[in-house]
Assembly symmetry: C2
Homo-oligomer: 192 residues x 2
DNA sequence: CGATTCTTTGAAAACAGTCAATCTGTGTGG
DNA sequence: CCACACAGATTGACTGTTTTCAAAGAATCG
């Protein structure tokens, strides 16, 4: 299963076989059943996670008990709570598996070891971090500038196939609208 | 003026005097008049920018010609378009000065040189990047989970003082609501 | 001081949210 | 393998919020 991760890494950076061995030595492959929690709010998060297969979601729960999905992580994406990891604070988020999934977990200490001893790896992680940051800014732009319908259409194109894998109410949550509104929007789009 | 930047850097990382000299040698201090553009959409962005004094805003313009503020950068903040910088693509954003401002500009090549030759600097930038990323995720959370009023109150506390420096219609834009709505929300809050 | 831009206010319309009921599909235990 | 239960999705009626458009009232800048 690790081969998926190796493929990802070696496609994105010039990692030698030796270097890969070092990386592989700190990788923990973990299977997750649908619905299984990886993190619950209040806990401390200490890993970096790479999704090999399946789909995870990270979400917060507000005072009214409503869930708000911040992120979906599918194959070849990273997941985790960087905030808790970086500041060593209790997490505000929950992470669970939407599908049966396989992930690679790397402990914070191990991960830091990798970035300090392997410059190529460090550079790779940097690029990924920047890419994620950019995507995040992009999302802010779409959320504040688009109507509900535009946001949904944008979701369909920016995350192709995801709409068929993820329950609709989670998509609605991700877009910041209610399931009912999403349902009506879909009907409206159909008519066109 | 560079001293502000030096203070910021040395407070956050163990940078020696020598190392600082190297950093300072690639810094370009630039004054900006209120309203002055730093970047307009379609252009390529090639700098990292640190705000010494004043306030910048980054915003997009949609098909209807409406501006959407993605970010305000005040003293001791970073600014720029990381997306254009990283991918070497034309920028989707505009950046201009809301107040007369002073910024430090570092060219991409110089910045990369700093991060590769000065490990401490690299690590500092990494931490800042992660912090920015986290803040960005945090903002997504507030936008999708809060009502207009909550978002405004949250803005008041998370960016203290800013509301008095920045025109209201820009704050409205930042929050993803119309100026009229913001005006009414303020009145409503006053009454409490 | 005049002109322009920003902010506020009002009224109507569009939009999204809430609550409740019904429909659908999936998975489980008998 | 079927029937049932249950969670998720849709629909309708209603409510509440936000936008839109237009106009008047501040504030700011040259």
């Amino acid at each position: 299963m690790l081969s998926v991760f190796k493929k990802y890494i070696t496609e994105k950076a010039a990692i030698s076989e030796n270097e890969w061995e070092i990386i592989a030595s700190v990788c923990i492959v973990k299977k997750l059943r649908k619905q299984q929690f990886l993190l619950q709010q209040g806990e401390f998060w200490r890993y970096n996670i790479f999704v090999i297969e399946g789909c995870l979601r990270r979400y917060s729960i507000d005072d009214k008990g409503i869930e708000h999905v911040i992120q979906f992580s599918t194959e070849n994406w990273w997941a985790g709570d960087r905030q808790s990891l970086l500041n060593e604070t209790p997490s505000k988020y929950n992470i669970d598996a939407i599908e049966n999934s396989v992930v690679v977990m790397i402990r914070k200490e191990d991960f830091d070891m990798l970035t300090t001893t392997l410059p190529v790896f460090n550079e790779l992680i940097n690029r990924i971090l920047q890419g994620g940051f950019n995507a995040s800014q992009e999302r802010i732009n779409t959320i504040i500038s688009m109507t509900a319908e535009q946001k949904y259409l944008n979701f369909l194109t920016s995350r192709p196939g995801l709409a068929n894998r993820v329950p609709r109410h989670m998509i609605a949550s991700y877009l910041g609208i209610t399931p009912e509104t999403l349902s009506r929007i879909k009907k409206q789009i159909m008519r066109k």
